[in-house]
């Protein structure tokens, strides 16, 4: 039973934010979703202070061993989420982690206060892959911006704060360290890699927004290296993700220092992928620990 920031998890596999809508999935699969829930904690899609409809299509594009997406964070906004979505997510049989994003510290602080006061919420993940409208800088690309944001948010709650790192930087470990110094309880990585594709039929960008984020097995070796670099830089627990499709993949991330792993894109291919990875991991970790170590060191 992994302990993650004081939250007891039945197994180490959770979902990546924005890759599973448990409310929609329950409409599709019924209560079997609850009986066979594939994750040991559920991370919500990112919420923002105000409602967002998301980007115009086309939003996704298949690539070799992966996909590019630019969805645009559609969500009901803070108040809509608290009133409509949170009560439904509270029916899930696992702890709830709410992902939140804002473009200025005041809004971010207001969101964290409102979300953290709800008993249904076990932890908050800060999506910092967005610009600070005052500085124009992407918060998660700047150690100083990240630390300054944490210094504002940290005093507002005793609940665990997780910083979701962007991989689109030269030194993710510097941002991780800034998050830790600002008081973050954990760091999760990686978010998607900035990527684009051209629609061969039109010669135009395949994604309407021009570019998007790459996910899937194609990004896994990059994610693993960033995890190793961050592991060497900070003490806080890490949530490792990026193209994990199998238990063997997850075992690599655990060997490289992740306490918890997240499955994202693979759930699109297999709605029950989380369970498959978690069950396989029990066998892999208990029976093949030497082999996992070897993978790590080779």
């Amino acid at each position: 039973m992994p302990d993650f920031c004081g939250i007891e998890l039945a197994h180490p596999v959770i979902n990546a934010s924005g890759t599973y809508d448990a409310i929609a999935a329950r409409r599709v699969f019924g209560d079997a979703l609850l009986a066979e829930f594939p994750f040991s904690a559920f991370v919500s899609k990112t919420i923002t202070p105000e409602p967002r409809v998301g980007n115009q299509p086309r939003r996704i594009w298949e690539t070799p061993a992966g996909m590019i997406n630019s969805i645009g964070l559609p969500n009901k906004g803070l108040e809509g989420f608290l009133a409509e979505d949170l009560p439904q997510l509270a029916e899930l049989p696992v702890p709830l982690i709410v992902s939140a994003m804002a473009t200025n510290r005041e809004d971010f602080a207001r969101m964290i206060e409102r979300v953290a006061e709800r008993d249904e919420v076990a932890a908050i993940e800060l999506n910092v892959s967005c610009p600070n409208v005052h500085s124009g800088l992407i918060v998660g690309e700047q150690p100083s911006e990240t630390e300054a944001l944490l210094e504002v948010l940290r005093p507002l709650t005793g609940k665990p704060l997780i910083v979701k790192l962007t991989p689109n930087v030269a030194n993710p470990e510097a941002v991780a360290l800034a998050a830790e110094e600002g008081g973050a309880d954990a760091v999760s990585l990686i978010n998607t890699l900035k990527a684009s594709a051209v629609d061969p039929a039109s010669g135009e960008p395949a994604i309407a927004a021009g570019h998007g984020g790459l996910s899937g097995p194609a990004v896994r070796p990059i994610a693993l290296q960033q995890l190793r670099a961050v592991r060497a830089a900070v003490e806080v627990p890490l949530i490792g993700m990026g193209g994990i499709s199998t238990a063997a993949d997850a075992a690599e991330f655990i060997a490289a220092g992740a306490t918890v792993v997240a499955v994202g894109t693979e759930s699109f291919r297999d709605p029950g992928a989380g369970t498959r990875v978690a069950k396989g991991l029990e066998t892999t970790v208990s029976q093949s620990q030497p082999r996992v170590r070897a993978l790590h060191l080779d």
Binding site: F29, P57, R59, I60, I71, P74, G272
Partner: protein, 280 residues
Amino acid sequence: MSAPFGRRACEVTADAASGGYRIFSLRDREGPPPEPGQFYMLAAESGWGESGGRPFLPRAISVAEAVPAGEGVRLDFLVEDVGPGTERLCCLEPGERVWVTGPLGNSFSTPTQVNPDAAGAILVGGGIGIAPMAIWRRHLVERGIPLRVLLGFRNEAHSGGLEELFCAGGSLCPDVRLTSEDGHAGHRGYVTDLLATMLAGDDAASAVVYSCGPPAMLEAVRALCAQHDVACELAMESPMACGFGACFGCAVPKSDGGYIRLCVDGPVLRGDAVLEVAHA
């Protein structure tokens, strides 16, 4: 009825060429029978992206027919090779297995559910979009609802499925009319030419139109129905990674602003709920 949670492996029981398309069958021992208009996410168990990395995501395919078979249901799918995913689905062999999630999405409403005064149905299918029209046609016929079916194809290479899905006793069902852009079968021109003529008739207002086909055709159907004030339901397509509301990729603009997710709020949409059918 909910789809079983997760994906399951189903055996391919038949696969054959049908004109320029392929038609294959899966034996599904777990899922409930699909409703007309619903779809499945399909990926071959082997040979799915191993060399070269594509196809990677499963493909959303509408069910063309579903028949009780032993323990379970036989699902028929009509596919055309238009990319790496459908290319693989077009060369399935009996005995192979396919990962199946579904049935997914909503289904067609009966004519009187759409319009209490409706007296019948007009089905308009284009290209590979004839597939959901086949299972819907059978359901309507079984309920004794009067209908006419208009099917259109670009040319002979881009056509198929008629013999398996719209014929009885070796000949085309009498309620079915064909069109082709190259004139190889039926009326030469667009299927919407026939629809326009039909909707201009006296009895058109008492019909409900159901349609599936390429975006340009669906948009023409939507616009024609709006012009003649005839209700329509469109079975639409959109890029889709998951089929169960997780990826938010299949956004379709609504007529009143914002987007819907086609996988969980569609694929069947009322014509007046859609802003316009995007020309992908």
